[in-house]
Amino acid sequence: MTIPFGNPNRPNSYIGKTVPRPNAARLVEGRGRYVDDMILPRMVHVVYVRSPMAHARITGIDTAEALAVKGVLRVFTGADIAKVCTPWVAVLAHLKGLKSPPEHAIAVDRACWVGEPVAAVVATTRAAAEDGAALVDVDYDPLPVTGDMMTALDADTPVLHADMGDNLAFRRLHEEGDVDAVMASAHKVVSARFKTARHTGVTLEPRSILVDWNAPEGQLTAWHATQAPHMMQTVLAEHLGLPEGRVRVICGDVGGSYGIKVHVYPDEVATAAIAKIMGRPVKFIADRLESFTTDIHARDHEIAGRIAVAEDGEILAFDIDDWTAIGAYSVYPRTSAIEGNQVVNLCGGPYDFKDYRAQTTVVFQNKTPTCQYRAVGHPIAVAVTEGLVDMAAAELGMDPVAIRRRNMYADDCYPVTSPAKMRFEGLSHHASMDKLVALMDYDALRADQAEARKKGIHRGIGIASFIELTNPSPFMYGIGGARISAQDGCTVRMDPDGSLVALSGVTEQGQGTEAMLSQIVAEGVGVPPAQVRIITGDTQVTPYGGGTWASRGAGIGGEAALQAALALKAAILEVAAAMLQAQAGALDIRDGQVVDADTGQDRLSLAELGRIVYFRGDTLPKGLPRELVQTRHFITSEYPFAFTNGVQASYLEVDTDTGIVTLLKHWCVEDCGRIINPQLVDEQIRGGIVQGLGGALFEEIHYDAEGQLLNGSMADYLVPMAGEMPDMIIGHVETPTLESALGAKGAGEAGTAGAPAAVMNAINDALRPLGAQVTEMPFTPERILRALGRIED
């Protein structure tokens, strides 16, 4: 069975429509259930004592005073936890040479960053645990701190992990063609250095876990704010020495993730270990201050880039040298080499050129570990690529739209393989650009810009084309040995009154997964979406799956749901055909009724069919299959990733006296294949843009030379807020992937991928007549004024 997507008037046409989110009313009425809302009998709270030093030997831990605090029950050190929990090593076989030392749930002997857990205090209340934590007396012997990225590999820089030999975690060089020869003979070569700041995801709900150990059953249950319950099940089972079948991870409502909650955090694993030792429920909720020091950070990159162009604007070559510092450990199990690897994979992405060289160098330092955060590597690669393209256009006196049109892959050239060896099934760069130019009325904006300039107002237009990696196959993690599922599954069941229940391995983080699944199942079976109940986030009941990451929920989990729904429909129609003495092929299900496919005439309600199957099965022909539960799994197999594409534009104003940037408007046209719910996609794009704008203008984690984090609160780590956000106009082009019947690719990261580059190019467009240029994010007022040479000291 397939769905005639081409016909918008087809029956049950919920795919492609904005339908209400099934969980919205519950969440806005305050009836969401987050981990911190869970209260279990005998539950206790754990608070972690964290290293105040970036690098130190732990020479002694005195817990006597802490244990004397009223309400404090136990204090655990790293050695205590190591007895029940094995350490992990975050490497992947396909990232050749990647190394990282074993990491313990609580530091044993040595702390390697400010915020690393060094002891745990368990008490009857969180407040008592905090009182106790303040009294744990840890003796530290300071060790030399490795902080700076670019000198991490210098001979006189201390080696952070002596066993590793040096501070190099990973290096990859990719070369295609003869970049040096092209650069030597090209009409023009433009080079620039870029920096992206270290930032973090700032989820509304902080990291949270509640773990109970039921000794007689030998069962560990974790209520966890996570994107990947099955991965966590596997990890907890492995490191606590339990069979997977005795670990249940339940993921209720989650207050945003953005990639932050897809990693294994030492304090969360330690919480599980403590629950196992104490035999009672233990709750850990990160507070906002420890979120800043212990949630993964991301995007601390410095990049030297070069582009070679011909006189007519043809892009001949890119040469990229990327450096990133990932903190003290590679993060388990996805590793911290992926971001740099993505930069190598994605630079130059939209363009049809031949010669390419890109290297990433990933080093250790005594800071909070970095790992995958929304749009992993994309904002960096897009900023470098699009920044260089704009600079080249300016050198050639070419319009930024024209140089892109000159070089983007033609819309009819697919499939095609890029110089980075990425395979594109079908993209729509030109159609997207055409739509963007029309949406923003590019020529009118240029006229407005020129008019404003006459009055001394400096406005800029910035364009950023991009590709986005979605729907990953096992090529992302599985082939490297990580037990991370690229496959996902869905079970759809019909209950006696015709209600449907769908259990999916992908998860809801607030992004609307459940709405998307309910539409697909509703259309697949032929019922209104309100008749479908979606269950996600429970390893004991849903099919095994990967969860939420790399924009895969709709493309992978959605296809599994569609196939399961179509299978259930077939099973229902088989029973209906027997009951109605008709051919199954002549029947259909519409709006919860079995109907004649030709005339649409009602034949049988699903409730009646359910009544017969469940309570009067005796009246059906013997041997008639009556399997009203169907499960299907989906995995991509033709392409390692389903690439999407898009283009963004920013219009902004720079106050050249204060350096303040005012965002006037933002546009994005993207192609995520089949759109299942237009409103959800638009809001994913908008939310993603906001996070990208945060990286471009506001977000930056500062450390001093001793590795102390300087701005770990919402007062001085600036997230983008509504007041500064521009109106965002979103448009779409749809090029469905042919790998699935649904045709959906991902849309979760496109906004974040392109927004920083669009803003950078717009600022530089505004500043160009003044001879200034900025390439270091975030573009703070001070950096802009310094680029303009306006500050005396």
Binding site: E130, T658, F698, D716, L718, M721, E724, E782, L785
Partner: protein
């Protein structure tokens, strides 16, 4: 983190509040809107406080005009201040300031007395009352006393309010017919504490100019004031930059803040027509 308070009592009147503070000794802490204090307690920057909640004491909120002076009760909330007609006429600087202070929820709770007693050098009200040449009215175990604004701000988070004393009101001269009051600042996001800001009050006797976010206390820029009185904006900018020594932090360097102060002064000057 969870706050760790030493105790809490709600005062029924001023006398009661002073008694409670007296009993608590150096652990005593006045609580009003809690928009600075509770945040500090929630980060355990302040622990063991014996909180004396004066927010329900009647008669300490509101604005009155008396004998050529405007009197603003310490418990007046930012939101009420911003909409008060007397403030609009006689102290428009304060009304302008409200638009820059945080967001609606905070303005609904925070009080001018709390903001002044807290004495954050980046806050708007301290610099405003300095430019307005206000008088601070205190009540203590030994009775009432007045402190001139010039003597009130001592250091970061430190004022002339002695242990056991409560700030009950501030007062300022009503505006002259042609008085000019203007506040300008630069902040990274709307509602953030400013990177730098200026308050200018022009009366017949001359200009008063104060700066916020550029030192450990709000700064009265006397060199710049003299130059403005002489009508020389270039000299005023030079003088202003010379008399400021702002801190550098993760938001901006001292050099940037100094630069911005000069930019803001020129903008204010242009806006008020460029005459002393």
């Amino acid at each position: 983190m969870k706050a760790s308070a030493g105790g809490y009592a709600r005062a029924s009147d001023l006398r009661h509040a002073l008694d409670l503070l007296g009993q608590a000794g150096d652990a005593g802490r006045v609580l009003v809107g809690g928009q600075s204090l509770i945040a500090a307690m929630n980060m355990r920057l302040s622990t063991g406080d014996m909180l004396v909640d004066i927010s329900r004491i009647s008669g300490l909120a509101g604005v009155t005009q008396q004998d050529g002076r405007l009197r603003i009760g310490a418990l007046t909330r930012h939101a009420d201040l911003g909409g008060d007609p007397l403030v609009g006429r006689h102290a428009p600087l304060l009304a302008q300031a409200v638009g820059h202070i945080a967001h609606a929820a905070i303005r609904n709770r925070g009080t001018i007395g709390g903001a002044l007693a807290h004495a954050d050098p980046a806050a708007e009200f301290p610099a405003c009352v300095l430019a307005l040449d206000a008088t601070m009215h205190l009540e203590g175990p030994d009775g009432a006393r007045d402190v001139a604004v010039g003597d009130f701000f001592i250091d970061v988070f430190e004022t002339a309010i002695a242990e056991g004393e409560i700030l009950t009101a501030i007062s300022l001269p009503v505006a002259e017919p042609a008085e000019v009051q203007i506040l300008k600042e630069v902040a990274r996001r709307s509602g953030d504490y400013a990177l730098a800001g200026l308050c200018l009050v022009r009366r017949a006797a001359g200009v008063r100019l104060s700066a916020l976010g550029v030192g450990s206390v709000p700064v009265l820029a006397q060199g710049a004031m003299a130059a403005l009185d002489a009508g020389d904006i270039d000299a005023a900018v030079t003088a202003l930059r010379a008399e400021l020594d702002p801190q550098s932090d993760t938001q901006a360097s001292g050099g940037y803040r100094k630069h911005i102060a000069g930019v803001l002064l020129r903008r204010i000057w242009d806006e008020i027509g460029g005459t002393a």
